[in-house]
């Protein structure tokens, strides 16, 4: 019996879901997975899927896979959001709403973790993979195999976090799992462990991607593209990846220490034994604050590309934009304490971090004005990406002002942990990050797939999102000022909050309609793709990636371009192209090793969650052995001869 218990760790029947909503979550995960398996089997596409996609080292395909996972996770995160809105709109007075408190806590924890790690980061790496190599005139990333490992670790983390719907439970300790609540003494179940290992595995993937794209941008720019001629998106990716390199190891350590506390009885953050819970709060925010800039810097620069293209003007203040990015990169490490002004750091320390927080608004303001000046006297086209941009400019300024308000420690003492704060950071992350990535996807997907997304449906989606966002979050600002705290599953009827919560609930319905239009937009645009072909340069754009045909061939550039100016493509797009001089191209061969390594990492994480120590060892050993086998393979590349490139290039539809 004991032997058997050791083999099964903590697994037991009591951990299966209970209650209708929990079963709903579990079944949607299981049947969603089964439906995909059945569809692929029915279409007899397994071999194709494996050879063309899962094992691909082509950054564009990896980008598309990131995009698909992020979209699915966006639906999951929105589902969680809708449940929370429903609960808070109905759970008043004698009524206790649709969720029990324990389940409600899991839902807000899952919502935050999923939206940041698997939507924000996923969307970001999707667009980075799709665009950065093209934009800097490169055929590939610096380390294609590493890129595949990064993606699959991200996917493994995603499966792990969703598996908590079926086996066991998720963390109920909030998206950053502060101890001592998240310690084994107070959260004895598997929930926090799912949180730790899903984030740890995906986080290591992000760290490896950070190194990869940092080296890609530093070492693989095409001839003539010195740093100050680089498109703005690539600049911000360089900034964001620098942040990843410095911040993510802190996350790795913090999660590991919490795991050691929980699994092996260590005393890093425990209430007793000499542990120090405040140290966790410092460590997690030393990663966490840079993290929000990691996801938003690329979004900012998507807007830079979009606003220049659709205003038909050079980006205003390019140099100041670059300096603003690097000022933000630096300052983002000097503000973390503003997340816990109330936790007893003292007046002087709070004053310092309050002032630094206000200062970081300055470079952000510089960027705002640069975008507005770019539009000034431009010939603006109100396309969907431009609408996302304009929604962002208005909403982000409001959210930013709320943020500067919160940066004042005495005000923060009143507002902290309130819905005002929740409204503030959602304004930054939804209208900043998410709107940015929606704009980027609409802008760049035609380059990857060769057809544009339907503009009319895109605009419907935008307006639903914008109206829904305002309806959902303006009430939260007001409720916060009225004293409503965050993470609240029930309140008294006499407070008079319910009408505002109902308005917020209506807001989320508009957002869901917006997502519905987006899904419809994708399906409709694929259906009508022949009528909507993009050509090489569908937006009359300025930067180098538009010099390639759409869809982009797997080798990106038949001939590597040479540039002389920041907007070289814009200046020379009507010149007669020179006769191309083709050369041999070396490209990486596909490999399934990335999938296998991440599969073992998944087993490692799953084993740790359930204390299946044999599985932990198996996962670790399997990953190491796979990497050793890979390292003995000397034939990881193949050559496309100049003649083959010439033939392939002749078939491409060239832009006019």
């Amino acid at each position: 019996m004991n032997h058997f218990a050791g083999f099964l760790g903590r697994l037991s029947w009591q951990y299966l879901p209970h209650g209708a909503i929990m079963w709903g979550g579990a079944l949607s995960f299981v049947f969603g997975g089964l439906a995909v398996v059945a569809l692929v089997t029915y279409l007899k596409r397994w071999k194709w899927l494996w050879k063309e996609w899962l094992t691909s080292l082509d950054a564009k395909k990896i980008g598309v896979m990131y995009l698909i996972i992020s979209l699915i996770m966006l639906l999951r995160g929105l589902g969680d959001a809708a449940l929370m809105r429903a609960q808070q709109a109905t759970s008043v007075g004698d009524s206790h709403g649709i969720l029990d408190p324990a389940h409600f806590q899991q839902i807000f924890s899952a919502h935050g973790s999923i939206m940041i790690f698997f939507v924000g980061m996923g969307f970001m790496f999707a667009l980075i993979n799709l665009v950065v190599p093209l934009q800097i005139g490169s055929r590939d990333v610096a380390f294609p195999f590493l890129n595949s490992i990064s993606f699959w670790l991200f996917a493994a983390g995603m499966v792990l976090i969703n598996l908590s719907l079926v086996f066991g439970e998720f963390s109920a300790a909030g998206w950053l799992a502060y101890p001592p609540l998240s310690e084994a003494a107070f959260s004895p179940g598997v929930g926090v462990d799912y949180w730790i290992w899903a984030l740890q595995i995906a986080g290591i993937g992000s760290l490896l991607s950070g190194i990869n794209f940092f080296v890609t941008i530093m070492k693989m720019r095409t001839k003539g593209m010195n740093l100050m001629k680089m498109p703005m998106f690539s600049w911000s990716v360089l900034g964001a990846m620098s942040l990843v390199i410095v911040a993510f190891p802190i996350l790795t350590v913090t999660l590991t220490l919490l795991a050691l506390d929980r699994a092996f009885g260590m005393h890093f953050f425990t209430a007793g034994g000499g542990g120090n819970a405040m140290m966790y709060v410092n460590l997690i925010w030393a990663w966490g604050h840079p993290e929000v800039y990691i996801v938003i810097l690329p979004a900012f620069s998507i807007f830079s590309e979009v606003v220049a293209t659709f205003s038909r003007k050079r980006l205003f203040g390019y140099t100041s934009m670059v300096w603003a990015i690097w000022a933000i990169v630096f300052l983002s490490f000097t503000v973390w304490l503003h997340h816990f002004f109330t936790m007893g750091a003292g007046a002087d320390v709070n004053a310092f971090f309050g002032i630094m927080t206000m200062i970081i608004a300055v470079p952000t303001g510089v960027k705002m004005f640069n975008w507005i000046f770019t539009m000034y006297r431009g010939r603006i086209r109100f396309t969907t990406p431009m609408l996302w941009f304009m929604g962002f400019v208005v909403m982000f300024t409001i959210g930013g002002v709320a943020g500067v308000l919160l940066a004042v420690p005495p005000i923060d003492f009143q507002m902290h942990n309130s819905l005002f704060l929740v409204a503030h950071f959602h304004t930054m992350i939804v209208t900043g990050v998410l709107f940015g990535y929606f704009a980027g996807a609409t802008y760049w997907l035609p380059k990857i797939f060769g057809f544009k997304l339907n503009e009319r449906l895109g605009k419907y989606a935008f307006w639903c999102w914008l109206v829904g966002f305002v309806l959902a979050f303006v009430p939260l600002y007001i409720l916060g000022l009225m004293g409503a705290t965050r993470r609240m599953d029930h309140y008294d009827a006499s407070l008079g909050w319910q009408p505002l919560f109902i308005v917020a609930g209506v807001g989320v319905l508009f957002v869901l309609a917006g997502v519905g239009f987006q899904l419809l937009q994708v399906v409709y645009s694929i259906w009508k793709r022949k009528e909507n072909t993009a050509g090489g340069d569908p937006w009359d754009a300025r930067t180098l990636e538009w010099a390639t045909p759409s869809p982009v061939p797997f080798y990106n550039y038949a001939v590597l371009p040479e540039i002389t100016d920041r907007d070289d493509f814009w200046l020379h797009k009507h010149d007669k192209p020179a006769k191309p001089h083709y050369e041999d191209i070396e490209l990486p061969k596909n490999t399934g090793m990335g999938v296998i390594v991440a599969g073992f990492a998944f087993l490692f994480g799953f084993g740790f969650v359930w204390h299946l120590w044999w599985l932990v060892l198996l996962g670790a050993a399997g990953a190491v052995v796979t990497l050793i086998i890979r390292s003995t393979d000397e034939e990881t590349e193949y050559v496309l001869t100049a003649e083959e490139v010439r033939k392939l290039d002749a078939k491409q539809e060239r832009y006019a």
Binding site: A142, F143, L207, G210, I211, N212, F214, V215, M218, K219, M220, I245, V246, F248, P249, I250, T252, V253, T254, T256, L257, L260, D261, F264, G265, M266, H267, F268, T270, G272, G273, G274, G275, N276, M279, L283, E583, D584, E586, V624, I628, S631, T632, E634, V639
Partner: protein
Amino acid sequence: MSEPTAIAQTNTNTEKTLFGFWVYIMTDCVLFASLFATFAVLRTSTFGGPTGVQIFHLPYILVETIALLTSSFTCGLALLSARQNDKRTSLLWFGITFALGALFLGMELSEFHKLALDGNGWQRSGFLSSYFTLVGTHGLHITIGLLWMGVLMVQAVRKDLSDGLLKRLTLFSMFWHFLDVVWIFIFTVVYLMGAL
């Protein structure tokens, strides 16, 4: 592909990989920095358990340290021989490096074992948790380094010293020297400052 281009291609690839590995080492630096910070916060949180003075034996640690520092030197010699295409000498030096690394790891594990037997395991106090984790993370890196070195040595025995293998040996030696630097900090911050 014509010969000169092929060589140029290899060089840029190697340069890119070395640069990437440097960046990786920087991330590992941040990782250790976080652990050092944790240790600095918890070093006085002994919770009634022993302090550093009571459990660290500097002469023992000094032997460990000398073994590791010497292994870094022999690793450098091994790489020099490999670059001169002298496989036998190179393997000899790598063998010595491996032995010294294994000696270091064995001594560390024996120290850990003794601490645990005396009732001073990682569960005893915040100080000991952070001590085991900081030193143990370095030890884990050494273990990975030994494994990596073993694989590279087997590859070197079985095949010629190709450009690819030489590149990997260079990466390994960067890794090994880096672990040496980290150890110097551990020796200073954990042991010297703890025991003196």
